[in-house]
Amino acid sequence: MRLDQLPLNQPATITHIDWDGFESGAAQRLRMLGFDEGIAVEALHRGGLIAHDPIACRIGRMTIAIRRIHASLIDVATR
């Protein structure tokens, strides 16, 4: 499953990130914000009624907002 498809409040683990799919600089920033393979993740909130974009997710003890397009590059497995 991809992070943008993960139901809200469903604990999951990041299994793979398509680092090369990001624009230059975006992958580095994602790493700095704590995204990595093997990390626990949980989708908390979604913006917008129709687009459901962006997504606020918990990484460790932080809440990070990312766009759907980036979330779709992140594979997760539910726990």
Partner: protein
């Protein structure tokens, strides 16, 4: 004179660095700039436990030492000892959010490896505890090899042991920097292992912030709450400030009358009473409104709401080719475009950033408030459209909205032309909600008030004095019946300018006010005050307020066109200067000035013609 020891505060954003800086230095702090870059330099003075003073520098909050942004480059260069305008610090306080160890320890280890005697301030331990974390500072200290002091900066807890530890650091000698081990991911993993070892007990995180976010970020209620907050903010700016503004206005009038009655009639009395006091007084009346606006913005920032607003706005911003990140600089631009444009440094994508810079002056800054306030008070009746919703507040809201809509349209146009290209998107940390500390709010407001008063005392005083001189020379013969203003140098310039301005409903007085208002928008008000003070020499009119005089000499369409002009016009030397610095050249500031003046002219013209056609 011996140089004082220099201590640097560093750490991730949202670690509470500034709160610790305030707790350590109190009001003894200064804000400046590093030479050649627009990174703010915050420096303060603190007392060490042995009675020696030391200098404390608050470095920009960053996520790493890799120089990706100007902020990161300054932090890196200071720590390496190669930053112009700063010595290499003698000691380093690394501020770490106790509730966020996994992420903050990676940067902390990179900083420790640089060799400067360092310590960790394990900040916000109270929130971490409430959040269900039990930490082991002693374990962390032995793992990292540096002292670790738990602190709660906003409550000044832990400050005394922290200062004792600084004393210890100052006795040590800097070691040569060690190369960083492994790549970024490896370091991150090691940091997570360090964090795990230091956490004794952990329960699931952050129930409170999540519950608040469920309402605040709700797809339906979230935007409603945001719109309501902004609406209350703009209503408050008008309603709450009135008694204070009236008091200041009364004081200014009293001083002016005292000067007018004590000094002998003549050029000097005119200079002091009509030039200096009328001009500067007309601007400082707006201090209460500006402070209320800044108070709202500071509270929104301090509570953590501002980032939520960015989340809510991201979709809309994406629609015009920007990201939610641009919302924070743009909202700050409501206070002043200069810090707003400087805040665009947090936008990594260069095209996103340039677009945000170019539209930031469209956000209604506090310098426009004096202009809007005077015109609205004079021309818009103080009636209520609905209970609690005044017409004046509504017009002000419409002006703000006009700026926002203009900015969105401009962004869309820019993104398809001069700043074409794919953006990097939106990624940002959403910190926990926090109750703002009154002390930090007061300190922030005091700094803003001081900057405003300094502007009133310098730029505004000087430009009004120059205008006064231009208006008073050459002198007319009072017997000739020729108006002093018409006869003056400024009058001649304005008469020429009004050929261009007449089609959009601007009279000579407005053209006149626009000349000095090139320096700063609020000067328009003091310029009008000075012009009318000089032209109306009879005593009964002297007691009229500026608003009453304007009402007597302007039509409603002219007043509305004047308001529309100020929604767009880029009249601020400081903004143009900061755009030049941030974009490294004259190309973009000139482009910005050009497109904004064109918009201002069209908007004022359209308003004037429409209002005239409607018979207003």
């Amino acid at each position: 004179m011996t140089t004082l020891p220099l201590i640097a505060l560093t750490g991730n954003p949202n670690a509470g660095k500034s709160a610790l800086f305030n707790a350590l230095t109190g009001a003894r702090q200064k804000t400046g700039n590093y030479p050649g870059v627009t990174v703010e330099r915050h420096i303060g003075r603190m007392m060490l436990p042995d009675g020696r003073p030391a200098e404390l520098v608050d470095l920009p909050g960053t996520y790493s030492l890799e120089p990706n942004s100007p902020d990161e480059k300054v932090t890196r260069d200071v720590i390496m000892g190669v930053q112009a305008g700063e010595r290499r610090p003698d000691a380093l306080i690394i501020v770490v959010d106790a509730g966020n160890l996994e992420n903050h320890l990676r940067f902390a280890s990179e900083l420790i490896a640089q060799g400067i005697p360092a310590m960790i301030a394990l900040n916000m331990v109270d929130i971490a505890e409430r959040d269900g974390l039990t930490l082991d500072p002693a374990r962390l200290s032995s793992d990292l090899g540096v002292p670790v002091i738990p602190t709660v900066a906003v409550r000044k807890r832990g400050v005394v042991p922290l200062k004792d530890e600084i004393l210890g650091l100052l006795g040590k000698v800097a070691a040569p920097p060690k190369p960083l081990v492994g790549d970024f991911s490896e370091r991150q993993r090691r940091a997570r292992a360090l964090a795990k070892a230091a956490i004794l007990k952990e329960t699931p995180a952050r129930a409170t912030s999540k519950r608040i976010d469920q309402i605040v970020l709700h797809p339906v209620f979230g935007p409603i709450i945001l719109a309501a907050l902004l609406f209350v903010m703009f209503q408050a700016v008008f309603a709450w400030a009135t008694p204070f503004a009236d008091a200041i206005d009364g004081g200014v009038t009293m001083i002016r009358n005292t000067v007018a009655t004590t000094l002998p009639a003549g050029i000097i009395r005119s200079f002091i009473a009509d030039g200096l006091i009328a001009g500067v007084g007309a601007v400082i009346v707006f201090l209460p409104q500006i402070l209320i606006l800044f108070a709202f913005i500071l509270v929104l920032e301090m509570t953590g709401y501002m980032v939520r607003a960015a989340f809510l706005m991201d979709r809309l911003m994406a629609g015009v080719g920007l990201s939610g990140r641009a919302f924070i600089p743009l909202l700050s631009s409501f206070a002043c475009a200069v810090p707003g444009i400087m805040a665009t440094r947090t936008i990594e994508d260069p095209k996103d950033r340039l677009t945000t810079i170019l539209i930031a002056p469209l956000m209604t800054c506090s310098a426009r408030l004096p202009v809007y306030a005077v015109i609205i008070a004079a021309f818009i009746p103080a009636t209520h459209v609905l209970p609690g919703i005044g017409l004046q507040g509504l017009v002000l809201f419409a002006l703000y909205l006009g700026g926002i809509v203009g900015a969105l349209v401009a962004a869309l146009a820019l993104r398809r032309s001069v700043t074409k290209g794919k953006g990097m998107g939106f990624m940002m940390e959403m910190p926990r909600y926090q109750i703002p500390m009154l002390r930090n709010l007061a300190l922030g407001l005091w700094q803003r008030a001081w900057v405003f008063l300094k502007r009133a005392g310098t730029i505004i005083a000087v430009t009004t004095m120059i205008l006064w001189a231009l208006l008073n020379f050459p002198r007319t013969d009072p017997a000739s019946g020729v108006s002093q203003v018409d006869h003056s140098i400024a009058g001649h310039i304005a008469n020429g300018l009004s050929v261009v301005m007449a089609p959009i409903g601007f009279n000579r007085d407005i053209s006149l006010a626009l000349i000095p208002a090139m320096a700063a928008r609020e000067v328009a008000v003091s310029a009008l005050a000075t012009t009318y003070a000089i032209d109306d020499q009879d005593e009964t009119k002297r007691d009229q307020t500026l608003g009453e005089r304007l009402k007597g000499s302007w039509s409603l369409p002219t007043a509305l066109a004047f308001l529309a002009w100020f929604v767009f016009a880029p009249q601020c030397i400081s903004t143009i200067a900061v755009v030049r610095r941030e974009t490294n050249g004259w190309k973009w500031p000139l482009f910005m000035v050009g497109y904004l003046f064109a918009l201002a002219y069209l908007a004022a013209g359209a308003t004037f013609w429409l209002a005239t056609a409607l018979g207003l």
